[in-house]
């Protein structure tokens, strides 16, 4: 599936604005991301949030990904 990358994450994917990944959960998606783009290890350590159809998931890696969902990877957020 097409997974869009934002901001600082593009650098770790050799400048790509999106990547093609396989996975039915966020966990599987992250594993495939790391397999294809080892440079993602750094951003992943700092935290990556996953937007599935606009809803942002920071930690729930068990979250399933619906078919044809829009997936967007964002840097992990901090709040006050």
């Amino acid at each position: 599936m097409k997974v869009e990358l934002s901001g600082i994450l593009r650098g770790a994917a050799r400048g790509a604005s999106f990547v093609e990944l396989e996975g039915q959960t966020i966990k599987a998606l992250m594993e495939d991301l790391l397999r294809q783009y080892p440079d993602m290890a750094g951003p992943m350590d700092e935290g990556i949030a996953v937007a599935i159809n606009g809803e942002i998931f920071r930690d729930g890696w068990q979250q399933s990904i619906p078919k044809d969902a829009e997936i967007y990877l964002l840097p992990r957020l901090q709040g006050g």
């Binding site: 937007a51 159809n53 606009g54 809803e55 709040g79």
Partner: protein, 753 residues
């Protein structure tokens, strides 16, 4: 298997009521225990020696005289904090901020600390520590820090997010770009283009309670930490990691908190207190002064930004861009990135770009401040929206309504929005009586929008039913804004019992599984979610016990309004059993009745607000009076409306201070000139009108009750709303926050030239 957290549109019987706050009595009688209120037998007084220089090499520290002073039990320097971080640069930054390692990076950076039998001895000991400094060039302004020849704050920084990757050090930690579409084509399509540059100054969260803790750590590596914090589990993990402790052997208890607003999400001095305690083998109490709190704990970024918007004659925005430069203190941060993510989030834009720079300066490490980074970006964007409206000859509110994001809009930070509330907040503003109030001489009105993400996180709660039917709910999120009342309402709602029958407490780190820090407006959202499921688990146990008492199968027992009832015709003669009756029999029906839940609460739902502000500016003095202020915000579902309104009002009040007065002022020597509330002026009651609120409830589809976080978004629009109001009042566009009297007078003088 993840829990089903979907919104269910259930009717409420207790949620939504304005019940009394459970902590009120303790707080008004002085019984509540804050960070500095805990004591231990044999405790010592901790004090920190801080750098008087903005940037200096520490050539030598001689602590020998201090150590010999009678009553001094421990002295620590960087030598007492070996690097145990295993190459984790982020953790090393925290350690280095707690205690300078070879270089003092800002005025107020800790260089040594003592523990002594009393305050006077500790102060005397600090004077006996001799530090030999070699002053280095410094930089405190974000634009100056980006220049090629600027003094470099951290020589290991290589700018991330640029191609090719630089080989030389600079102060630019990272460049983050967000957006979509074709900016050039969008601007080419525009009939009108407006560009403006803005600056905002550094502000502190201004929590009334300074940082304070009581640390006990023995040579066996077992310790306790009582501390004012927004995240005692995070503090435990960080302190244990930095000091080489087993996580479970350090118990951290969060005190009552006298304000945090993001500033107490970070570890600032707690490892120092623990290390002093370990070295002295006695408890150490460390309480920062107000001056230390200003000089050495995290304020928000100062910023500099360039905003550009293009639109057609009919007010449709064709392109929008922002370059945002955020000062992040002496250590890397993500503040410019967050500014870039939030800047354009209120609008439906085909062609949009936001670039954020995180820039190091010789200032204290920047921390989150309520929707971190969003208020400054909103100031630039929303001020430029007003300028654009003026150029178009269009009402500024109508321009916002016309371009507002909606369900299906691609957010400027990437994803496509689900159901969101920016349109409804703007419509509510349009129809609000405030907008119809006539303005007088020297008065102006401003409107502005704001956005914040909100988030959830790891959460764990325990619900225990006592034998008399009262309920204890233990949560791991700190009550920074009234969550105990809201969570008691939620537990009461689920169990079907009175609110007064539930007592909520914040558990220490030994009582519950990990809870993420209370940030991102997550307290009521995530602990509320965990409370719902913990209560439902307890209800399952209550039904089992009732089935046993009634001698019927459990699948024939339902839970309705606080009681178990056996269903079916043949059970119609059986009595209902209340929670109290079932609890009373619990010792002989299986023992304690409890419900537990651990959850990663995600899908927090983004939040929008729109504010209206009326001001009057005295053209002779430049002083601004806030005449009227209205906050309209989407809360998803207001569990306790008083607290939701309080969050709206609090954010607005802090924003008013930020917009009009608050400012870190550095001298040419790089020293902070105003580290106290006399010279750093936060608003007091007499500065503020009653802040009116309107709660919108657009349910979050990812929470059973529809809850969205409410604690942060309300600070996003004020800088811009007040900026627009002041600009309209004086007839000159204000571009520099705070809009203090001298700045307003200078702007008026400038307009005359």
């Amino acid at each position: 298997m993840p829990l089903d957290t979907s919104y269910t549109d259930q009717p409420f019987h207790r949620v939504g009521q304005r019940v009394n706050r459970p902590d009120g009595l303790d707080k008004v009688t002085g019984r509540a225990k804050y960070g500095a209120d805990m004591n231990a037998a044999g405790q010592l007084v901790g004090k920190i020696l801080r750098s008087p220089h903005a940037h200096a090499e520490i050539k030598k520290i001689d602590t020998s005289k201090a150590e010999k002073l009678p009553g001094v039990k421990a002295v620590v320097t960087a030598a007492d904090f070996p690097d145990l971080t295993g190459g984790d640069r982020g953790m090393l930054d925290i350690l280095e901020n707690c205690m300078a390692r070879g270089r003092a990076l800002y005025d107020g950076h800790a260089v040594a600390a003592v523990a002594a039998v009393d305050e006077a001895t500790a102060r005397q000991a600090l004077k006996l520590i001799k530090v030999q400094y070699k002053k280095l060039p410094h930089v405190t302004d974000v634009d100056e820090a980006m220049k090629p020849k600027a003094p470099v704050v951290q020589d290991w920084i290589r700018t991330r997010g640029v191609n090719p990757a630089p080989t030389a050090a600079s102060n630019v930690h990272q460049r983050s770009e967000f957006g979509h579409g074709d900016l050039d084509a969008g601007f080419a399509e525009a009939d009108v283009i407006v560009e403006k540059s803005y600056k905002t100054e550094q502000t502190h969260q201004g929590y009334i309670e300074p940082h304070a803790c009581l640390a006990t750590l023995g040579p066996d590596g077992v310790g306790d930490l009582w501390v004012t914090t927004q995240g005692h589990f995070t503090f435990r993990n960080v302190c244990a990691s930095l000091l080489g402790l087993d996580v479970a052997k350090l118990k951290v208890t969060s005190s009552e908190i006298g304000g945090g607003f993001g500033g107490k999400t970070h570890v600032w001095m707690e490892p120092v207190a623990l290390q002093l305690s370990r070295k002295a083998n006695r408890p150490v109490k460390l309480v920062l002064s107000r001056e230390e709190t200003f000089r050495a704990t995290g304020p928000t970024s100062s910023t500099s930004m360039d905003i550009k918007i293009g639109a057609t004659k009919d007010g449709r925005i064709t392109a929008a861009s922002a370059e945002l430069r955020y000062q992040c203190g002496a250590f890397p941060g993500i503040w410019g990135m967050l500014g870039a993510m939030t800047a354009w989030a209120c609008y439906d834009l085909k062609n949009v770009k936001a670039v954020g720079y995180d820039v190091l300066c010789n200032r204290p490490k920047v921390a989150a401040y309520r929707a971190p980074s969003a208020p400054m970006a909103a100031f630039g964007v929303e001020s430029t929206m007003d300028l654009l409206a003026a150029e178009l000859g269009m009402d500024a509110l109508e321009l916002r309504i016309k371009n507002a994001a909606k369900e299906g809009t691609r957010a400027s930070y990437g994803p496509v929005y689900g159901p969101i509330g920016i349109g409804p907040t703007l419509d509510a503003v349009k129809n609000h009586p405030h907008m119809k109030k006539r303005l007088g001489k020297n008065q102006g009105r401003g409107v502005a929008c704001g956005f914040w993400f909100n988030f959830g996180g790891q959460t764990c709660t325990d619900l225990n039913v006592s034998v008399d039917g009262t309920v204890n709910l233990t949560v791991g999120t700190v009550d920074v804004g009234g969550s105990r009342a809201s969570l008691a309402l939620i537990a009461a709602e689920e169990l079907g019992i009175p609110y007064e029958q539930v007592r909520v407490q914040v558990g220490d780190t030994a009582s519950l599984g990990h809870n993420d820090t209370t940030e991102g407006s997550r307290g009521t959202f995530s602990s509320g979610m965990a409370t719902i499921f913990a209560a439902r688990n307890a209800i399952a146990v209550l039904r089992e016990r009732a089935a046993m008492m009634l001698d019927v199968p459990v699948d024939q027992v339902v839970w309705e309004d606080g009681a178990a009832r056996a269903t079916g015709k043949k059970n119609s003669n059986l009595p209902q059993l209340t929670l109290k009756e079932i609890a009373g029999k619990s010792p002989t029906t299986g023992g304690p009745i409890a419900g537990h839940n651990e959850v990663v609460a995600d899908g927090a739902g983004v939040s929008f607000a729109s504010h209206i502000c009326d001001v009057e500016v005295d053209p002779d003095t430049g002083a601004t009076k806030i005449l009227r202020y209205t906050v309209v915000q989407d809360a998803g579902k207001a569990i306790h409306p008083d607290y939701v309104e309080g969050q709206f009002q609090g954010g607005a009040a802090q924003g008013i201070g930020w917009a009009l007065n608050e400012e870190y002022i550095y001298g040419a020597d790089g020293k902070l000139q105003n580290p106290g509330f006399l010279d750093y002026r936060i608003p007091v009651c007499s500065d503020l009108p009653f802040i009116d609120t309107e709660i919108l409830e657009i349910p979050n589809p990812n929470h059973p009750y529809g809850v969205r976080g409410v604690g942060e978004t309300s600070i996003v629009p004020p800088l811009a709303a007040i900026g627009n109001a002041v600009s309209n009042a004086v007839g000159v566009r204000m571009t520099h926050v705070p809009m203090s009297p001298p700045r307003i007078l200078a702007a008026l003088d400038g307009a005359k030239d």
